[in-house]
Structures are given as C-alpha cells and as structure tokens.
Symmetry: C2
C-alpha cells in the first residue's frame, strides 16, 4: 500500500520535491501549508506558476528576465549604456541593483563555462555580447562572475574574445569583506587585497 | 526603481516566499528552476496546486487527507478497526505507515492544544474521536503525539474525556532511539526508558 492516502497529495509532494534543495519532508510541509491557505491565494499561486513559464520574456538586449521585449534597465534613459556589467544570472542583477552603486546596463550570460557540466561558450549568451561590443558604443565591460575555476575560465574566455575591440575590460574588486578580520581571511584573498591596494585619503573608498 | 526587472517574476517570488521556511533568495532559486523546466511540467505543477485546494478531501472518519469521502486506510478490510492511533497531522500518518508496524486505523487531530497559539480543544478533531468511541467498537486508543507540553496536555485532555468508556488508552513508547548512546541521552528520556523497561528474551523487541 501507498504511504500517501491521496494520489493528488502524492502528485503535489512529488512536484514540490523537484525544486532545488527540496526533499519529500519539506515538500509535504509546503503542501500542508497550501492546504491551510485561503482558496483565492492558492488559485493565484497556481496561476502565477503557469503564467511564469508562458508569459515571461527575456530582454533581447541583455537577456535579463523582463515583462517586455526590452527590460526596464535597458530602456531607461538615465542609465549609462556604454558601461556593461557581465553576470551569470538574474540573481546577480538583483544583488548588484540592491547595492545602488551601479548605473550601467547588464549582460546576463545564463551560466558560466563548465566542461564538467557540459556547458561550453556556445551555450551561453557570449556571441550577443560580442555583437553588442561590435555594433554599439561600449566603453567598458565589467566582468562580475563568481571566483571559481568556472567563473575565472569564463572571464578569461570573454577577455580574449574582446581583445580586438577598443574598450576597457575590468573585473569587480576581490578583497576583504567589510566586517571581516584579517586573521581569518584566506591567504589568496588577503594576498589579492594587498596587490590591489587603493590610495587612501582619510576614508575607505 | 524596483530591483526585480519583471512584475510577474516579483509576484512569483513573493508567492513562493510565503511557504514555510522560504525566504526571498530561496524563492528566486525556485523560480529560476521553474523557468528552466519543461513547459508541460510547469503547467502540471501549477495545475496540481490549483487542484490541491479544490479537490482534496478529508476522510469523514479519520480526517486524513483523501481522494474520496472515506480514505484508503479506513476503507480497507485488512485493517483492525478497533485500534485507533491518534496523531497530530498527516505527516505522522505517513511516518507511522512507513514503519510497516501498525495495522489499525488513525484519527488526525489537526494540531495539539496550545493556548499560546490560541488552539483549544474545540479547534481540534476531538469530538469526532469521542463519537467514534461511543458509536463503534473501539478496543484501544494509541496516543502518538509529540513530547512537548502541548502534546502532553492534549494526551491528558483526551485521556480524561475517554475515562468513562471501557477501552485501553496507550501512548507510544518513549526511550532511547536505536543507535543512540546512553552517555549522550538526556536524563528524562533515560529515566523513562528505565521505568518502562521490557522483558528481554535474547533479542530486543
């Protein structure tokens, strides 16, 4: 006999258990929560999921998730269109937007080069980045990828591809996180933070 | 400006963030996963959630989640209907079913008495349990509730209510979990396990 007393319950649990990091027990917790919720809210939830896959678009310019052909960031006039920040996915866009320190536009790769996972340069939005550099007035590309071998490989690949064009390529600064103590920082980070030291004028930049 | 580039994305993230233990970052992870999934699968997922709230029934006999008026467990002939195990919610039913050690039926309370959370006896399925005892041939009630003050209070409340009827009331055994070392077991559990010692006949029962 099945341990689930209802086929529908079992279906729902299995569907939730497909989400990343969600096991059977967590899935049951989610389903029990939904069963206690208001009918209208649950309908809304199910509907949003269905619309999500059907209606959501990716910006033709930067591949960010968007409600329109061109996303809000790319279509605003107040943004510096000659400055492009290259990121792995939309989570990075959200993280950088939250800092309120960046006024350029983005380019979402959709991943990083990772031969182990079968992800090559052609699986990522790299060719559209090159097109952008070729056809528009881009002054600087900021590479904001994670500091893993895959991230570094992707940085280097893009850097090589951009070599023939006249523009600045930079990466975001690696160093000691604010609040961290030197004693507990790993040697590589600490070493990099010494090499990339910046002029000090009374306050930390 | 909004940090989300899409209203629909924001909606979906907010909906997922309502699930217990899910924050914004986890919700974004779930949404990104869904966006990468197959269209049919996503439609299925949304549809299951909507059906869940509309179609799922609770067994009229034991309040377990069910596809029909009476759940599979209550309707099977092979089960001992004179043995009723009282549990907090359907997760406990699943857990006990997984042990393959129980052949009676269940009674799902839908919670435990918790004045702090405003849950009184009338909010739980206790009156239907009393009705069951009054109208049917029940020989034993097994109380399988959690070992918190709320669980113990609920046990005691039900115990008192059942006093006037002729039947056995038992609770599941508390003791040292299999694989645990005596040294690291808390005193209360260890004390209970000594008081409730069982005859040994060469193998642990």
């Amino acid at each position: 006999m099945n341990t689930f007393s209802s086929k529908l319950l079992e279906d729902a649990v299995n569907q939730f258990a497909k989400l990343p990091g969600v096991g059977k027990k967590t899935a049951i917790r989610y389903v029990l929560h939904i069963l206690k919720e208001d009918n209208v809210q649950v309908m809304d939830f199910g509907n949003t999921i269905m619309r999500l896959r059907e209606e959501i678009k990716f910006c033709k310019n930067c591949h960010n998730i968007s409600d329109n052909e061109i996303c809000e960031i790319c279509s605003t006039n107040s943004r510096d269109k000659s400055l492009v920040c290259v990121v792995e996915d939309i989570r990075d866009v959200i993280a950088i937007e939250n800092t309120n320190q960046y006024n350029g536009i983005y380019h979402v790769l959709g991943g990083v080069i990772s031969p182990m996972d079968g992800v090559g340069p052609s699986d990522l939005n790299i060719s559209t980045l090159i097109d952008k550099v070729r056809n528009r007035e881009i002054k600087e590309i900021v590479l904001a990828l994670k500091t893993t071998i895959e991230g570094d490989t992707t940085c280097f690949y893009i850097f090589k591809k951009l070599k023939e064009y006249e523009l600045n390529v930079s990466t975001i600064a690696r160093g000691i996180a604010i609040g961290d103590e030197l004693e507990y920082t790993d040697e590589i980070t600490l070493g990099k933070s010494i090499i990339n030291r910046v002029p000090y004028s009374g306050v930390h930049a």
